[in-house]
Symmetry: C2
Subunit: 207 residues, 2 copies
């Protein structure tokens, strides 16, 4: 079988196809680079039309990561998709979904395990980068926490996927009146690969 086996060449060609096909003109260059990598993770150039971000999102993410901000992830797949060698500040990647306290907390708060896991981030939320790639309830819970006084992350990458609450939770993130820097994808599409790709782009300029 005849196919390209050079990893670097595959990346180069992939990113060049994306830049040729995707409509990126509404994005500033630093955000466009992030959108390119998000598209790379899902194979859909039309994802660009649904990406929505606050004006300060890319700068906030890059700055926080460079100064060593921890990354809070809602799912192990998200954590697994973050390329550790790209992280500029020896950043800790934290997922509390399987923390021994989470199940009891979910019962107590009468919510999902993923939402309860967010509760455990509270003490270190200030200046962190939050990456939600799976559960709408995690994003809703986070917004509720912050509205009721929890510290502000430097950036919320809120890209849960699915049919119940995903579009609504992302709409709530984009409409937040707290001035929270955010990056999201409108509608049902999203997921851990797209979310961790955004982190990988913010972490390092290499393509």
């Amino acid at each position: 079988m005849n196919y390209v086996k050079d990893g670097a060449a595959i990346y180069r060609e992939s990113f060049s196809i994306i830049r040729r096909e995707a409509d990126l003109k509404e994005f500033q260059p630093d955000l466009a680079r992030v959108v390119v990598r998000m598209i790379h993770a899902c194979g859909m150039t039309d994802l660009a039309q649904d990406v929505q971000a606050s004006a300060d999102a890319a700068a906030a993410g890059v700055g926080a990561l460079r100064t060593g901000a921890p990354l809070f992830c809602d799912a192990t797949m998200v954590a697994s998709g973050i390329t550790r060698s790209r992280l500029p500040g020896n950043n800790e990647v934290i997922c509390t979904l399987n923390d021994p306290r989470t199940a009891a907390l979910a019962k107590e708060l009468q919510t999902t395990r993923t939402a309860a896991a967010v509760e455990l981030w509270r003490d270190r939320l200030a200046g962190s980068v939050v990456v939600i790639g799976n559960a709408p309830t995690a994003l809703f819970h986070l917004l509720g926490l912050i509205e009721t006084g929890a510290p502000h992350p430097a950036l919320i990458i809120g890209i849960p996927v699915g049919f119940v609450g995903a579009a609504e939770s992302k709409q709530a993130l984009a409409a937040n009146s707290l001035g929270l820097p955010y990056l999201t994808v409108r509608g049902r599409r999203g997921g851990s690969a797209i979310a961790s790709a955004a982190v990988n782009a913010l972490a390092c300029e290499d393509e």
Copy 2:
């Protein structure tokens, strides 16, 4: 904020929306169940039109998992997305991407690290379930291995994503003349979440 917090209710409602919206009539019931879960993982009901599988795919996957077949994954995200508690046969989930031998092997074979990692599956491929959710080169390499005499897996879930080689490698899988049971998604779309969702559906009938 008002939103559904009952995990089981969210699943039920999600699967019900998918069954209402997706065109599943060309699939046998056992495969339709798998397609529903793949759609759940990506938020796109029109994925159904691109799902392609051999007639024996679902039965082969279910049977192999029940008898304890190992799962070979091309990426840690794929491995991470497989819900261990759903696996019926105490199945081992194996990803050799970060095996200490892989980097040297990639150099020797002049291929990507992901393709080289496949080389390490050879001795246990017979009757296994292969799950490729990231790299086209891994799928191409696997097909090459089998064409040149490596044992046949029970099922190949070949759903790499992307712009270079993804569509082509999946076409090669679907066109295989070796009678290999397969499940794939035509075109550029795919990824670790869709691939591991397929495994999770085959592993257990619970929705």
